[in-house]
């Protein structure tokens, strides 16, 4: 943890080793771009929203990038020292994949666990498609359960989807985006004390983040090669999965999508995770974002 004015920024993020839009932070460190911006960045990989965020509430880290529902629920806790400052990865890149030959009608869809983003989506899909659901766990567990016939399809994201398509003939049974529209996958929250002391650091962070996003969009092939070893997949799979990511330019951009935020709030209310819709104008403090990406909420 850091206190007072500093050049250090500790980031705690979920999935830096499995999700490319998180792994770009590591790329930023490796390429020295944060250093150039005068930031000494330190990256934690938190396993799941609970840990990722707790590390920030305890002051171990200054910034958390974690699953949408966790961040929202944590920030709404009484006496919370978390402040939501931005959305992260604003396309709906969740899929339900299955071995070939499965049908959506009467399907049982696996999700990770209660209270998670996947539960949110699965609840939405239940209403739209008349499916049922079952808590299973990680992407790996879901794919295993799908193959074993315990569920019809399991949740997955890129590049896992591509990898299983390539290696094991997985097929996308449901693409959540088609059914439910976009939501931000993650939200960025900062420790309020840190933010008060070091507003410049957070601003600098977002500048570098935009640079990284742009790098992915403009140099997709190079990005695939750089990210592949971090994801432990082959460069081909990584390249393909970036290609398969819907609206890459929107996905890898900080430009706030008000509609996606609204959609998230609606889904959470429908899933019973919230009792009333989120007032984003109050909940999300956009002051640290570059002016050109802010939105009126």
């Amino acid at each position: 943890g850091t206190s007072g004015t500093t050049t250090k920024l500790s980031i705690s993020a979920t999935g830096t080793d499995s999700l490319p839009f998180m792994a770009i932070l590591q790329v930023g460190i490796d390429k020295g771009w944060f250093k150039e911006a005068g930031l000494d960045v330190d990256l934690y990989n938190g396993g799941g929203g609970g840990n990722t965020l707790r590390v920030v509430t305890t002051g171990d880290a200054d910034m958390a990038i974690a699953g949408n529902t966790s961040v929202l629920l944590a920030a709404r806790q009484a006496g919370s020292n978390l402040k939501i400052v931005a959305p992260w990865f604003q396309v709906n890149d969740f899929y339900w994949i299955a071995p070939s030959g499965r049908s959506v009608t009467g399907a049982k869809l696996g999700f990770s666990s209660a209270g998670s983003s996947t539960e949110l989506l699965v609840k939405g899909l239940e209403k739209k498609l008349g499916t049922t659901s079952q808590a299973v766990g990680t992407m790996g567990d879901n794919w295993t359960a799908a193959k074993a016939g315990e569920v019809t399809a399991g949740w997955a994201m890129h590049p896992f989807v591509t990898d299983k398509q390539a290696k094991e003939g997985a097929q996308v049974l449901v693409a959540a985006r088609d059914q439910l529209g976009d939501t931000p996958a993650d939200l960025v929250a900062v420790n309020t004390d840190y933010a008060a002391d070091n507003p410049g650091n957070i601003k600098a962070f977002f500048t570098v983040a935009e640079r990284l996003n742009k790098w992915v969009v403009d140099n997709t092939d190079e990005a695939a090669k750089t990210l592949a070893p971090l994801m432990k997949v082959s460069p081909e799979v990584m390249a393909q999965s970036l290609k398969d990511t819907p609206e890459l330019a929107k996905a890898y951009s900080l430009k706030v999508d008000a509609q996606a935020l609204d959609n998230l709030s609606k889904l959470m209310v429908a899933a019973g995770q919230l009792t009333e819709p989120v007032d984003w104008a109050k909940t999300m403090d956009q002051q640290y974002l570059p002016e050109n990406v802010r939105a009126t909420l």
């Binding site: 943890g1 080793d17 499995s18 990256l43 934690y44 990989n45 938190g46 396993g47 799941g48 609970g50 840990n51 990722t52 707790r54 590390v55 509430t57 305890t58 171990d60 990680t138 992407m139 790996g140 567990d141 794919w143 295993t144 193959k147 074993a148 896992f160 990898d163 299983k164 432990k232």
Partner: protein, 246 residues
């Protein structure tokens, strides 16, 4: 005794045969279900891991945490065990709580530990909590079952407190202490790795979890195998020592 019967009765040979048998069963079952990676694929992943500098640094990270957890856990467990063994008052006050605490699934305490000990500390503390009890219990029981005549002997030769500790207590509990230490090493590994599942920056727990959540079972099993192999080797060596000590 002929060499053949000796060979047949040797524990080592038996254990190797059992390991081979297990590999054969593993090979066969890997053909039956996709969740079980084949021994060959696992071995390949095992070897490749060692060529990966990140894997090696993860290994170092875990080893360091395990070593710290083991040392702290053994010292702490030993100290409390000696206290409990020697003092009836300490037993009255602490024993029931310690027994109850031993029965608690430590993993549910992780949410309590994380905020207090922070990220790198809480995995060591988790390892300590796992390693603590076998040492504590073994030492307490060991101290209590030291034949009273040893203490009487110590008193008649007017041995000082430190002399009693070094020349009577420590050697007298050497066997239960070794047993406790052996279990402590294994459990320190489990504790640290479990903690690494939840939150960490480096460590084999993270590697396993990454493989696990991606369904890369060969990679996952190869790391489990490494953990197993290390714990197994240390444990068996200590266990042999345990049986050789007079």
């Amino acid at each position: 005794m002929t060499t053949l019967t000796k060979l047949r009765q040797s524990q080592f040979v038996g254990a190797v045969v059992l390991a081979l048998l297990a590999s054969v069963i593993w090979q066969i079952s890997s053909g039956l279900s996709f969740v079980i990676p084949s021994p060959a694929a696992t071995a390949e992943a095992f070897v490749q891991n060692f060529a990966d500098p990140r894997y090696l640094s993860d290994m170092g990270e875990t080893a360091q945490a395990v070593a710290q957890a083991f040392v702290i856990g053994t010292l702490l467990g030993g100290a409390i065990g000696v206290l409990l063994g020697l003092s009836a008052a300490a037993r009255t006050w602490l024993e029931p709580l310690l027994i109850a605490f031993n029965g608690v699934p430590k993993i549910v305490l992780y949410p309590v530990l994380l905020p207090i000990f922070s990220l790198s500390g809480s995995k060591i503390v988790m390892g300590v909590l796992f390693a603590l009890f076998p040492v504590l219990i073994n030492v307490a029981v060991g101290v209590r079952s030291i034949p009273p005549v040893y203490w009487k002997l110590g008193r008649t030769v007017q041995a000082g407190k430190w002399q009693l500790f070094v020349h009577i207590l420590l050697p007298a509990i050497r066997l239960p202490l070794l047993t406790g230490v052996r279990l402590a090493i294994s459990l320190a590994v489990v504790g640290v790795v479990l903690a690494e599942f939840f939150a960490t920056r480096f460590g084999l727990g993270r590697v396993v979890l990454q493989a696990y959540s991606h369904g890369e079972y060969a990679q996952m099993v190869s790391t489990i195998l490494l953990l197993l192999l290390v714990a197994f080797t240390v444990s068996v060596l200590l266990w042999r020592l345990e049986r050789r000590v007079r």
